[in-house]
Amino acid sequence: MFVYADNAATTRVRPAAMKAYLETAESYFGNPSSLHSAGQRAKEELTRCREGIAACLGANPGEIYFTSGGSESDNQAILSAAYSGAKKGKKKIVSTAIEHHAVLHTLKKLGKEGFEIVLLPVGTDGIVKTADAEKEIDENTCLVSVMLANNEIGTIQPVAEIGALCRAKKIPFHTDAVQAVGHLPVNVNDLNCDYLALSGHKFGAPRGVGALYVRRGAPLLNLIEGGAQEKGKRAGTENLPAIAAMTVALGEAVRELPAYMEKVSALRDELIANLSKIPHCALNGDPKKRLCGNVSFCFEGIEGESLLLLLDEEGICASSGSACTSGSLDPSHVLLAIGRVHDVAHGSLRLTLSADTTEEEIAYMSEKIPQVVAYLRGMSPVWRDLKEGKRQYIL
């Protein structure tokens, strides 16, 4: 059996999106910046796409900027607000400890440039507290950035509440919604955000395309210099086939959202219940306030990379926050932030489901994962020490 359970990494391209990609490449091959009819037809198609994406987010078309994906969108939003704030002498940025590296590394860079970076902690449930944000947001703050849903443990953050705080204090607010768009209802007005980053390939569009929502009036600097595309804020000939595919994919995802969420959250809960029976394991993140497709566990006494490799042998594609899968010595910053110590954070497993996930696949994973965990524990000196009482169980 082949089970693709790594949809938070990337999704299969939706057939309708693939069709749109090919048709657009063929029918709208002109450059939207060209004056001739082929170019103008492409420009009209680009406008329709912008309207389509905006409609899915409750935004105005003029507030949508097409980018290469989530990382670029996050970078542009953060740098824009930061450099604009610095001109007014405001150099404090408030974010969270569990952001994606596209946000964290951008903040780190700003920290080296003299910005004060405050990363709010999260509870063991993987959720940041609005009250903690409120304490840190002050008159020197030029940006608050809080992700809508976490990529590793799927927890959904109180973005609308924190956005309301920022709105009241007139502080630019960015949300990295890369994992959320297409997976839960997202409306820029409900979220009170000034910037919102999204990425096409997380909801069935091809890779290499995304968008940044920028509320009218919010500062925006361009990262890429060149032509006047995207109102001069993002140079480079528009990737129209991918943009069209993303528009179709998002439209479909939003239409299917209620049914998708109901179906996939039921599968998620079933998988969580089944895997919870494995001794000395723990679910990462709040059991309910999480993405409908996210299942994340830590298993004591084993290491995540070897778990992934053996699951792959069984046909199960998953992911882990272990250090060995990232090439660094430290396990995932998200798992450490929710209080998992290094020893158990190394033994993490993330399974992310999709609308294509079946009951059979859940049953298959529920059968294979406990077997592989038990096999690896069988050769683990850590597990032996735990069993023999020479080491204390953490989970």
């Binding site: 290491e303 990379e305 070897s306 053996l310 060995c324 290094h342 069988g378 000196p381 850590v382």
Partner: protein, 145 residues
Amino acid sequence: MSLYSEKVMDHFKHPRNVGVIENADGVGEVGNAKCGDIMKIYLKIDGGIISDVKFETFGCGSAIASSSMATELIKGKPLSEALTLTNKAVAEALDGLPAYKMHCSVLAEEAIKAAILDYYTKNNIPYDESLFRETSCAHCEDKPE
């Protein structure tokens, strides 16, 4: 997965010499759970020859494969020869490891040396201290939680 050579995958999926030797003559454990790698080597020694060897490993695919390969390379060998086993030889026998996984082969070398040292110490056998360098994982001990 193309991250690893076929040989690494073979030793990872079908590890040789996994297990424990009860009343082993020498036991060596290196690494720590914080770093994500622990290797434990058990030796049975008869007349200066490694007559049996077993291992237990907590770690990634290359750590398990390195342990497996290292035990194969020393099984049936005199201690003097096992002591000359380098991490490079383990990695080469596996048709190479990714650069950031080379420490797994270092752990295998160190685990074997630690097991031999344990045997020497337990039996009051004099040995050349220069053959036993400090373990590379010492820095992990100081790592904050």
